[in-house]
Symmetry: C2
Subunit: 321 residues, 2 copies
Amino acid sequence: MNFNEWTRAVLARTEAALEARLPSAEVEPGRLHDAMRYTTLGGGKRVRPLLVHAAGLLTGATPEALDAAGAAIEMIHVYSLVHDDMPAMDDDSMRRGKPTVHVQYDEATALLVGDALQSQAFITLSDAPVPAARKAALLRELAYASGSLGMAGGQAIDLASVGIALDRPSLEKMHRMKTGALLRAAVFMGALCGDEAPESLDAAAGVAAQTRAQAGGAAVAEAIDAATLAAALERYSAAVGLAFQVVDDILDVTADSATLGKTAGKDEKDNKPTYVSLLGLDEARKLAKQLQADAHAALAPFGDRAERLAQLADLVVERAN
Amino acid sequence: MNFNEWTRAVLARTEAALEARLPSAEVEPGRLHDAMRYTTLGGGKRVRPLLVHAAGLLTGATPEALDAAGAAIEMIHVYSLVHDDMPAMDDDSMRRGKPTVHVQYDEATALLVGDALQSQAFITLSDAPVPAARKAALLRELAYASGSLGMAGGQAIDLASVGIALDRPSLEKMHRMKTGALLRAAVFMGALCGDEAPESLDAAAGVAAQTRAQAGGAAVAEAIDAATLAAALERYSAAVGLAFQVVDDILDVTADSATLGKTAGKDEKDNKPTYVSLLGLDEARKLAKQLQADAHAALAPFGDRAERLAQLADLVVERAN
């Protein structure tokens, strides 16, 4: 199976998984369910579910477990778009090529759609076909990545920074939280779905360091393997997460709204700090290429098993929308 | 320890648990964390954490596990208040005796505070000091109770019903989702925190029926115990949940804003259907008393262990705000 075939297969699985895990519009409250389906189904690049499935190949995860993790993380992503588009935030009227939820329905519905999609993500995790210990680990990843130290916090910093000339470290911190945390969670959650993953990848690096310091025994090899996995995924996620944002900023000035499926040129209009405004277009493109190379380098320990992750790094950097 | 002393002790534990589980306002984004703490700490009746702790007495749960479950469910409740108070929804300016979040801060912050508090609830569960299997069961209860088939869905039905003369079954369904689901989750989560609880109370009734149908063995007694527990908690929760709403409706017309800590008389002004508008004040009071008696009756199988749950049913019906 080549990369395009694999991508199409994962997108089809993801669509089916989302479809199955969102309540029918026939179920009361029908308008809310209809709006949840309207904004979630039939669109989007599904970058996070693709990362989940690609990372799952490293640890022998089942496609069914990855479907659940991918659907959950995509619901979190979609909820954040619905809320970000609302008049109190970015006030955008177009998303994924169609009217945003508060335009198509109304503001109260948009608010509740976001709220209910966040809950639905955790419902989806709670029903994931994985042992309880893995479910608890997945819960931890998704909850931390979504909250005030992750995605929601990054959005708060982003809002507070409009019209302020953020320096590069501040801009990076904001994006690391706003989009990076969820992309990182996608990679970690995919790996955590597999039987070959340690139960907590977050703890792995710390434990390995401690174990090595104490010398000794068979536990060392295993802990170092877990630490290697965690460190490599951390490095890969950081590179891909940042590249994703840099390319977003580039596309905002180089692509048109029809290609993007959302309003182009909005960052400049809103006076938002971007990598393009900070570095210029050429340097921003150079940075994206460097990050792509770093993502590839991070995957070296895994050999062929990481082929899809490498190809996804290419997709993130070379995409047209 | 009498009931008042027990209540004060649980309230103090709950405040400490929430305080410890909300990021400091010193941590970036400071304004978001400040607003999360502003709206969560130092107020509220904490009915849900009280129910969690009382139900935990049935199954020998540790106070530490109950603190985590109680804090998580209170965060969900508080997030829903923050979003419900926003201009797109109920547009209320006063809550728990202070300005609502969108008034004190701004609308974008209120939106993000609600979003981040929902995530924080699941972060709190993910860190709860219980075995992974119980964590997964708690996750399931909280996520389903919060989502479109629970609290968020009830709010959607409530919004759609303004100015419409709902009949009593429709009104009950709305409240069963909007407030009942989370009160029920409080009771079930409290019980699930204990070692003596079956791992899934939801499944217990079904499993017991099946086991009995197949006859046989020692498993029957255990399954029936789980079923008895689940059925009794279901009946208690239904009675207390409905009583809570009936009394809320009564207080909306009989108490003043200062006592309530929120705007009194708002339901009538907003032309919202209530038990008072449907039944009249006297019949609404009679209904609350009947539900109180039914809650007590549901607890009969547990004897003294259910004393706090019985007293909480009294508190819900006899409260002044």
